[in-house]
Symmetry: C2
Subunit: 171 residues, 2 copies
Amino acid sequence: MQLAEAKAKFIADWGRLGTNWGINRTMAQIHALLLVSPEALSADEVMEELAISRGNANMNLRELIDWGLVQKVLRPGERKEFFTAEKDIWKVARQIVKERKKRELDLMLPVLKELSEVEGDKRDKGVKTFTETINNIRKFSEQADKILDTMIKADEHWFLGSLVKLFGGKS
Amino acid sequence: MQLAEAKAKFIADWGRLGTNWGINRTMAQIHALLLVSPEALSADEVMEELAISRGNANMNLRELIDWGLVQKVLRPGERKEFFTAEKDIWKVARQIVKERKKRELDLMLPVLKELSEVEGDKRDKGVKTFTETINNIRKFSEQADKILDTMIKADEHWFLGSLVKLFGGKS
DNA sequence: AATAACTTTCAGAAATATTTGAAAGTTCAG
DNA sequence: CTGAACTTTCAAATATTTCTGAAAGTTATT
């Protein structure tokens, strides 16, 4: 397969994958494009490569920067802004975990606490099942919270090393 | 908070969460409803509680069964089918991991292999960056693949026990 | 202060995903 | 077999999300 074709396939697949995970297709595609670009690209280059509008490119680049996956690069003497993506996949994964945790798990924990305090007779089956389920989810979430915090802070070598040791290095 | 209100909040929040992860809102809401229902519910009860159509209820219940998160229950002497959700959150999480892995990671790995074999001069910067990035993603994915397989097979106690030991039990 | 070179915004248009509901299909008791 | 009680299907309607592009905003230069 030639580079151009491979690149197009990667961008399309990364976009499809994003869609399945609640990330908009274009945002994932821009990310894919920058991941495989040796140099930082301008908004115009992104627009051109992906055949999208200026507004769309701008909005999704901003979102990617927000997620900490892309950075602006300024070239001395040029007005234009260029964009480049972090290429170390371990760092990318950690950043995504960090952001999703912040946007979802951290918001969910207080809600679960509140829900676990529902009023009512504990001998009532409805109340009992509700409370038990919520408490289970809560316990699970709190454990996830700790583990993810550790992962966010961890260095790749240490983290994967530990897991591989834990789970056995050989498949 | 009273049970009815708490239930409604949980269903709404679980639905919103699903949306962020590429799962359709109604499917997540049905799942939430069944998670907190002491008894299995009929399609009619689900329709009524969530104010959705018969077709919608049927399709999303089927999807949940497909994902292994919900089971049909037949009551002796009744024609109607009832639906119940697995309530052990660890099992639920494991099941979701298992299915998503099957639907996404397992399909992605061969694609990454193919992409990593792109033709072209390795001294070309474009080819070099592409190959390196793909190989990085591939290595990462293969490691994830192993770890997830272990998790899928693991028993809760052993798995979380190991992680907690690894990451330190106290926050 | 005027202009050029950019970036950002946002209302309306377009694309995508989800839902409805009525008809068709199935199963079973009589 | 027939009809009642259900479940499934799917084309059309609706809702939601995303995208466009022109106008407004910004910044640097002369």
